[in-house]
């Protein structure tokens, strides 16, 4: 089975990309490889992912810096948060 990575976008990132959830196949091996892959197909989204306050989580754990992605990993990109 081809390794895959599921990517989730939240808040304004979704509006920038025009999608909420996407499967990347074959899977990039790291968070930085995923960012590079996104940059080749959507420069606006890649820029938004680099903007201040955007955080990434891998398998529901905040990823500090780069992170290795296992096959089937869930990657979430989250802009600045505001609840309440």
């Amino acid at each position: 089975m081809t390794p895959v990575v599921r990517v989730l976008l939240f808040g304004r990132l979704r509006d920038v990309a025009g999608w909420r959830e996407r499967i990347y196949r074959p899977a990039p091996e790291s968070l930085s490889a995923l960012r590079a892959m996104i940059a080749t197909e959507d420069a606006a989204l890649a820029a938004a992912l680099e903007s201040p306050g955007v955080r990434a989580a891998v398998d529901q754990v905040l990823a500090q810096g780069d992170a290795v992605l296992r096959s089937g990993a869930e990657v979430a990109f989250m802009p600045p948060m505001s609840g309440g």
Binding site: L8, F10, G11, R12, D15, G53, A57, Q60, A76, M78, P79, P80, M81, S82, G83, G84
Partner: protein
């Protein structure tokens, strides 16, 4: 207790359930956030969460607040999805032996929810939609607890 709910909830029933049967608690503080109709105009709010992650991040912060303020208990109920004006968005409840701890715990949890909890808020107004991000005030408020 952390709960994300997609339907309206009953803040009074939650307050009663939370405070019932306590004999060592002297103070229960609640914060209820309501969806405002901005300047008389109906603005629909929409709250988005990251199911699973949002609850566990909030739960970790609530546990830290319980330790820090010496709370006996704390609960967060947060609405997700579309919210009409006047309806509850969030209810935060804290219980402590004395009032200062209950107030500070509740205040701190609200500052966290406004600026750091994994929740995204969109306002749908007459002139379009916008994602709400923490205000300068929200960011300085959460710094009070650093």
């Amino acid at each position: 207790m952390i709960r994300l709910v997609s339907e309206s909830f009953d803040p009074g029933a939650e307050l009663n359930r939370f405070s019932r049967g306590r004999t060592v608690t002297g103070a229960v503080v609640s914060f209820l956030g309501l969806a405002r109709g901005e300047s008389g105009q109906a603005v629909a709010l929409e709250l988005e969460a990251y199911p699973g992650f949002t609850e566990s991040e909030i739960a970790a912060f609530v546990d830290a607040a319980i330790d820090r303020f010496g709370l006996q208990d704390a609960a967060v109920i947060h609405r997700v999805g579309p919210i009409p004006p006047g309806e509850p968005i969030v209810l935060v409840l804290t219980a402590a032996p004395h009032r200062r701890e209950a107030f500070e715990g509740c205040d701190c949890l609200m500052d966290y929810l406004k600026s750091r909890a994994p929740l995204w808020k969109k306002e749908h107004g007459a002139d379009g939609s916008r994602w709400v991000e923490p205000t300068a005030r929200d960011l300085s408020d959460i710094e009070r607890w650093a």
